[in-house]
Symmetry: C2
Subunit: 315 residues, 2 copies
């Protein structure tokens, strides 16, 4: 038996989330993986679980600093910050918080489509600034219902997005590694073909090295001057340099982005664009969903400490 089995790791945890974890399990807390080595060796040896939240890499070096580590419980569905191979090699289990955030992330994707095409930010500014009463009607926006949507990555979140867009009478196209059973949605064997066939290209891939720049300069070019790119996955999945250039040169119509290569210190060129809607990686950032994610993370930690099956293991 250990006295302090849990390390809460990451500045991204809110006070509520931190309090919930530390009330449930005796714990210590560090702001980042880099701070790990500053802990007393005796304490490090007693730690059996890391509750993790954030984007900072947690790799072999951090794992080596915690010889008794048996579980890394990630807050979030994407665990690309955690070196899964290194964990598996050390017999460390990794869990994440899938499914409970699918609805929110899909809602964010649809919200970005509507906000971008229907110019909702410009509209709000048009009213608040008094331009409406001074200059009359705003320039026209673009129709969403009935347009063609392309989902890159038809996993659980991609499927939720497609189901919502189908209710907008959109023609659904998708690309994924394998063709899936769908209600007549059109499969494309590669993302460039998909981008060329649609008005809205929605990226719903997993992150990590395998999908780096998966939406390439060529795919962005295929989207064309009336196309809109939506990314709610990870900044790494899209060639960000090519995206910025295409947006600046109006080679695509616009973008709705919740994720970026460098978060939160994103490339300042994004902030100069008037054809994008930008969100601060808020796909799952609702009161209800963050609570559900915290509960699932804690359930994994409790199951591990009790020797029970893990609710949502990834290795």
């Amino acid at each position: 038996m250990t006295d302090t089995p849990l390390l809460i790791c990451g500045a991204a945890f809110t006070e509520d989330e931190r309090a919930r974890l530390s009330t449930a399990v005796s714990s210590v807390s560090v702001e980042s993986p880099a701070a790990l080595e500053g802990l007393a060796p005796g304490l490090r040896e007693r730690l059996r679980v890391v509750a993790y939240k954030g984007q900072a890499p947690f790799g072999a070096r951090e794992m080596a600093a915690l010889p008794g580590l048996g579980l890394i419980a990630n807050f979030g569905v994407g665990y690309d910050a955690i070196d899964l191979a290194a964990a598996t090699a050390r017999d460390i289990r990794v869990t994440n918080t899938p499914d409970v955030l699918n609805d929110d992330v899909a809602d964010m994707a649809v919200g970005l489509i509507l906000a971008q095409a229907r110019c909702l930010l410009r509209g709000d500014g048009w009213v608040r600034s008094g331009r409406w009463s001074k200059y009359g009607e705003m320039p026209l926006a673009w129709k969403v219902s009935g347009a063609r949507a392309g989902i890159v990555g038809l996993g659980r979140i991609g499927r939720e997005i497609a189901d919502r867009l189908a209710a907008f009478k959109m023609e659904i196209h998708y690309h994924s590694r394998q063709q899936k059973e769908t209600p007549g949605w059109r499969y494309h064997a590669d993302p460039v073909s998909l981008a060329g066939a649609v008005d809205f290209l929605v990226v719903a891939l997993v992150g990590g090295e395998e999908t780096r720049n998966y939406v390439s300069a060529e795919a962005i070019a295929a989207l064309g001057p009336t196309g809109v790119l939506i990314n709610i996955s990870r900044g790494t999945t899209v060639d960000e340099g090519a995206l910025l250039a295409a947006l600046e040169q109006r080679r695509i119509a616009g973008a709705g982005l919740d994720v970026y290569l460098d978060e939160p210190a994103i490339d300042p060129r994004f902030q100069g664009l008037d054809n994008v809607v930008l969100q601060p990686h808020a796909g799952s950032a609702t009161v209800e969903t963050r609570r559900a994610m915290a509960e699932l993370q804690l359930a994994n930690i409790r199951a591990f400490l009790d020797g029970e099956p893990l609710p949502s293991p990834v290795n």
Copy 2:
């Protein structure tokens, strides 16, 4: 046979819309119904059709100024600016442009829900201002999927809204004069009961005197401190004074509004609110839909002049 059968009436027509009408039919143009009486009597007598766009009242007095008038072709589905009883008494036909805008207006309603609950405007500002990198995560927003939606007025547009929200797994409630055949949606006999049962109250009524203040102070109170009001119908349908007071005093959580009592010179108290998303009556303001509305207006005018059945009569 007349030389100039068409009067284009309304400052709201765009140059494109005006050009399309005047190319098709010999016409004169006035900025508002008030300018009618300034036209030469000989010209007024030859006018047989008014192509109308706007909110300024067009009533018995204006009709009397045009003794040969046989058709008022309204641009838009809502024709509450036109005195229908006066027109019918004079044997003047009225047409509108229904259905072609249903999708856009429904999209606007869903966009307002997502923008309001998920704080998309604050999110964009959080990123653009650099607050994200300076202060970290934004305060949490509120979940949309799975919430309870109440539609006030389950006409063609209300139905389109409900169909979309059902894809967000929302529990659909509605109020309309009669109960309708629905896929298990819950009917409420009055709007106050509806407001008390839902998280998002979406107003999709027709305008005009019969629905003035239909969403009353009592209904707004029933919505309560976590409720959000969405109005994409007409400013008249909601008790605007009660709505403003409830928003200022945080007795409801927020609103998403596309319509107001006085447009475009809206009550400036709206512009001081941080819990509303405001749009400039842009429900149908897309390139695609405005073109379809212009085509339907012109089709009604042509049918009338040719003695053919009217595509979309309202009397």
